[in-house]
């Protein structure tokens, strides 16, 4: 008689053995001591085994795919360098968008790597723990490939060389930095909600689609390539984000109010950080793809609307102040670019005023606001420039205690009035750019009252001195090279020389 045939395992069972099957209930040490961080936030997980793995990637497959991808990436980069790809971009002004990305976003990839390692060690459920470990690897690779790609631009353009140093010090870089520091100093479930869900699921298309199509439109093949290489990883990150949210909501009804509060908070924080991307899309791309307002409509109003419709069955509602953020989509880029124009002397990239054609494009894209509130200001600044009286703002701005952006935003419904809010905590008054930022502070005043705000630090004498030149030195920015207007910059001279040489050859 032949022995009974063994039952073959399906993929799901096999994957379970390769991951959660490795885990055990510790007995020489208490599980709560082995996993000390996953309960204090109040999120109740009654049964981790209910977690459904959204993807099944074993390590050998991971190394194989990533290795192949990276080989292709480096081949493209080599040919970009050999063919002087930097000369084939639309215009050298474009490079300033890349400067903002490398100094502002790439360090966040690295922070994401560090903190997903925290989750990869400390989340009790093996499914999300393994997913977090792989994401930690992904984010480290993203930081590395971005630095590698962008290092080529550093050979020809200013403003790149000191990116990690600048990330820790420069006023506008403290906006993305403090956003991530906030997430990394929160508990693991809040971090998942902040980064995996709010940032990578809800808002990611507003960062990566504009950025990558902007790069493609403007002839920046190097950036397009690292974008594509990250895309398959991002698909995994997004699924992790949505699955964690659903899992928390399915596990216990007490989780809903906690998750809702985090969704509200991180939506608002993300909206403010993305104001930098809005500015990039509306002002910094020599060849435009779509306006920030259009991107917001497609990727938040429509896609986000459908998402929250779907999540309503768990009781989750659209983030608080989504309506205000939507109204601001026709304001935020103009207000931000105006801030950078006024403070160009302290920025690590170049600024400029939009030309006639660009002004008309902005009028067309923001018909409700641009001609009425913003065009006159840019035209006035243009006249001042013509008279040799270019406007610089030499006063240090007040910063929002929560988002750290200079308080230049206006009241909802009244674009002629700057929006101020404040709260008193332990006898000190703190200032905010908006009700959203005030609410966040009021919920965690002990945390946000400790925020590192550059302007305060300058006044306290912690930034190299009191003069602009002292602070620039402390930033590692070279006066007249890394900062100020594009017109007259070494970047421009270099670019014009390339164009002249081309004409000669074509001549």
């Amino acid at each position: 008689m032949t022995p009974p045939r063994k039952k073959k395992m399906n993929l799901k069972q096999r994957y379970a053995l390769m991951t959660r099957g490795l885990d055990w209930e510790t007995s020489y040490q208490k599980m709560d001591d082995v996993f000390p961080y996953d309960t204090f936030e109040g999120i109740k997980i009654t049964d981790w085994s209910k977690w459904e793995d959204p993807f099944r990637l074993t390590m050998d497959a991971y190394w194989k795919y990533q290795g192949e991808k990276e080989r292709k990436l480096y081949a493209v980069l080599d040919s970009f360098a050999q063919n002087n790809g930097q000369q084939g971009i639309s215009d050298a002004r474009y490079v300033n968008a890349i400067k903002l990305f490398l100094t502002g976003v790439t360090p966040l990839e690295y922070q994401a790597h560090r903190h997903f390692a925290h989750l990869g060690r400390h989340i009790r459920g093996v499914g999300p723990r393994v997913a977090a470990q792989m994401q930690s690897l992904d984010e480290l690779r993203h930081a590395q490939t971005q630095i590698h790609t962008i290092s080529h631009y550093n050979k020809y353009f200013d403003g790149f060389a000191e990116f990690p140093h600048m990330h820790d010090r420069v006023w506008y870089l403290s906006v993305p930095k403090s956003f991530f520091d906030d997430a990394c100093s929160a508990g693991p479930f809040e971090f998942f909600t902040a980064i995996s869900f709010a940032f990578e699921y809800v808002l990611t298309n507003l960062l990566f689609v504009p950025f990558m199509s902007g790069a493609a439109y403007n002839g920046d093949l190097a950036t397009v390539t690292f974008g594509f290489s990250a895309q398959s990883d991002e698909a995994r990150h997004m699924t992790l984000g949505i699955e964690v949210i659903k899992f928390m909501l399915e596990q216990h009804p007490d989780n809903l109010p906690i998750v809702q509060k985090w969704v509200d908070k991180w939506f608002w924080r993300g909206h403010k950080v993305l104001g930098l991307v809005a500015m990039m899309m509306d002002y910094m791309l020599p060849k435009r793809i779509m306006s920030w307002k259009e991107a917001w409509e497609i990727y938040f109003t429509e896609a986000g609307g459908a998402l929250f419709e779907d999540l309503s069955r768990y009781g989750l509602r659209v983030p608080k102040y989504a309506d205000i953020a939507t109204d601001e989509a026709e304001h935020i880029s103009h207000q931000n670019w105006a801030i950078f124009y006024q403070y160009t002397q302290a920025a690590g990239f170049h600024t400029w005023l939009p030309n006639d054609e660009e002004l008309d494009w902005l009028s067309e894209k923001c018909p409700n606001t641009f001609d009425k509130y913003y065009r006159p200001r840019f035209e006035m600044w243009r006249e001042m420039e013509a008279k040799g009286e270019r406007f610089y703002n030499n006063a240090l701005p007040q910063l929002c205690q929560t988002c750290q952006i200079p308080m230049g935003y206006t009241e909802p419904g009244d674009p002629t009035k700057i929006g101020f809010r404040s709260s008193v905590y332990k006898d000190e008054r703190y200032h905010f750019c908006s009700q959203g930022c005030k609410d966040i502070f009021d919920d965690e005043p002990e945390k946000f009252s400790q925020a590192w705000l550059l302007v305060h630090q300058i006044f306290q004498g912690n930034c190299g001195g009191a003069d602009l030149s002292d602070v620039l030195k402390w930033y590692h920015m070279d006066q007249g090279i890394d900062n100020m207007d594009y017109t007259g910059s070494p970047d421009q001279k270099q670019w014009d020389a390339w164009q002249a040489a081309r004409k000669k050859v074509a001549g």
């Binding site: 039952k7 053995l17 390769m18 055990w24 007995s27 390692a117 470990q133 930690s136």
Partner: protein, 225 residues
């Protein structure tokens, strides 16, 4: 491929090798802990790659278990039971669990990657593997080749890290030597039943040899024994 292994040794593999997938999972957690809490990209970046490598090794061991089990989970279940309950494994499991609650990330690094791995890898992938050759286990050596190559490479990194830290100051040397002594004695005891189970009477001598070689490596790194 594994069909040539005799019945008796197959049983032995389930006892000594397959439970190590849980040891690897512990090492994965420890690498991830160092990547999380450590200071300096030279250490933390390397440790997240190690995190992935140790999960990969745990998965290689799991696949070996599934193949030996002709496609089902039965042997993995028995190996897990051994990890949880068999006397021979309790010392190692306790050492791993103790390392998981250790708060000093450098002690975790030293305990896991210098001491525990420094004994487990040569004992299992060299000495136990050699013993298996008499039982037709040549194919198993091929399946474990990755672990041998991987640890040779990883040890160079571990040695460089420990050496640098020892050189930094006398206080470092004293502290690291202390930790080394503590984990060395825990592990040399924990592995005795393993060595006896697989190598019988010869086990003790082999384990002593493994410990001596690790001591020699540690002295070279500047640790005081």
């Amino acid at each position: 491929m594994l069909a040539n292994i005799d019945e008796e040794w197959r049983e032995m593999i389930v006892k000594y090798l397959i439970p190590l997938r849980h040891y690897e999972w512990g090492a994965n957690m420890n690498a991830c802990a160092v990547s999380d809490a450590g200071y300096g990209a030279a250490l933390t970046s390397a440790m997240i790659f190690t995190t992935g490598d140790r999960l990969g090794i745990a998965q290689i061991l799991s696949r070996i278990g599934i193949v030996l089990s002709e496609g089902d989970a039965e042997l993995l279940g028995r190996a897990k039971q051994a990890w949880m309950e068999a006397d021979a494994w309790q010392g190692v499991r306790k050492a791993i669990e103790d390392s998981l609650v250790e708060k000093d990330w450098f002690e975790v690094l030293l305990a896991q990657f210098l001491v525990m791995d420094g004994m487990v890898y040569p004992l299992v992938y060299k000495h136990f593997d050699t013993a298996g050759q008499k039982h037709g286990a040549a194919a198993l050596s091929i399946l474990c080749e990755f672990m041998v190559d991987w640890s040779a490479e990883h040890n160079r990194w571990v040695d460089a890290v420990v050496k640098t830290a020892v050189k930094e100051s006398d206080e470092n040397r004293v502290l690291l030597s202390d930790w080394y002594g503590k984990w060395r004695s825990i592990m040399s005891e924990a592995l005795q039943p393993q060595a006896a189970m697989v190598l019988g009477d010869g086990g003790e001598a082999v384990l002593n040899e493994v410990c001596e070689q690790l001591d020699a490596r540690a002295s070279k790194l500047g640790l005081t024994l």
